[in-house]
């Protein structure tokens, strides 16, 4: 299945891309997706994760067509 990953702000700049499509087996978690997409980069501890525009935990299982976003802590206002 194909999953869309997005990166924002300093994380996007550091990784060097804003989005990517990744091929993964069904039943994969977001933590496993990160490792597939970024094998040389440990998951930064302060990074937030959203699935289909909702905050989720790394243990969440992804499904075909999901959009997963990774980003640093937010600072609005």
């Amino acid at each position: 299945m194909q999953i869309k990953l997005r990166y924002f702000a300093s994380l996007r700049e550091y990784i060097g891309r804003s989005e990517q499509i990744i091929e993964a087996d069904s039943g994969v978690t977001i933590r496993e997706l990160w490792a597939l997409a970024n094998p040389d980069l440990m998951f930064p501890s302060n990074t937030l994760v959203a699935m289909n525009l909702e905050y989720v935990a790394l243990a969440e299982v992804v499904h075909e067509g999901d959009e997963i976003a990774f980003f640093p802590p937010v600072t609005g206002g």
Binding site: A9, D40, L41, P44, A50, L53, T75, G76, G77
Partner: protein, 167 residues
């Protein structure tokens, strides 16, 4: 309820007046209007800041703000609510955010406005990339991100992002 993401500078008082005029139905029903306007400073942690780039996550940002307003509507008696938030290039003295709440009584207005603003700040995906005046900061770097409150991300620095040894 109206939530707006503004890519250009906006006039918060005009936004307020326009919204109030368009919602004539609440005329005579509200006894209190609370207004919070966040404005960009020209300093942060002792550095002179000449501007910033406000990034957001289209779709999720509006959703988070709407959820904050929805939660406030459950907790307080709110007649109307307006939130406007800037994105893009912002310069000192320009408004960044407007939160306004119309209610029957002042307690609800004060509390709901504060709640929406604080919830927005901690949940809505916005990120600020500050442009630091390099003449006014030791080792000044332009274009640094601020991934955490009080902590500045600097271009070219690993910033705590750790490489795997097996990479």
């Amino acid at each position: 309820m109206l939530i707006k993401i503004a890519e250009q500078p906006f006039d918060p008082l005009r936004e307020l007046q326009d919204y109030q005029d368009r919602n004539a139905g609440m005329s005579g029903k509200y006894g209190a209007t609370s207004i919070f306007i966040g404005t960009m400073r020209d300093f942060n942690d002792g550095d002179v800041v000449s501007g910033m780039l406000l990034e957001y996550y289209p779709g999720m940002t509006e959703k988070c703000i709407a959820e904050a307003v929805g939660e406030a509507q459950e907790r307080w008696s709110i007649l109307e609510c307006l939130v406007v938030h800037r994105v893009g290039e912002v310069y000192p003295n320009q408004p960044i955010v407007l939160v306004s709440v119309w209610t029957g009584h002042r307690g609800d207005a004060f509390d709901a406005c504060r709640f929406i603003m604080e919830t927005l700040k901690s949940t809505a995906p916005f990120w600020k990339k500050e442009i630091i005046d390099s003449n006014n900061v030791e080792g000044g770097e332009k274009g640094s991100f601020e991934p955490m409150r009080g902590e500045r991300w600097v271009t070219g620095n690993s910033n705590g992002y750790a490489r795997n040894n097996n990479g």
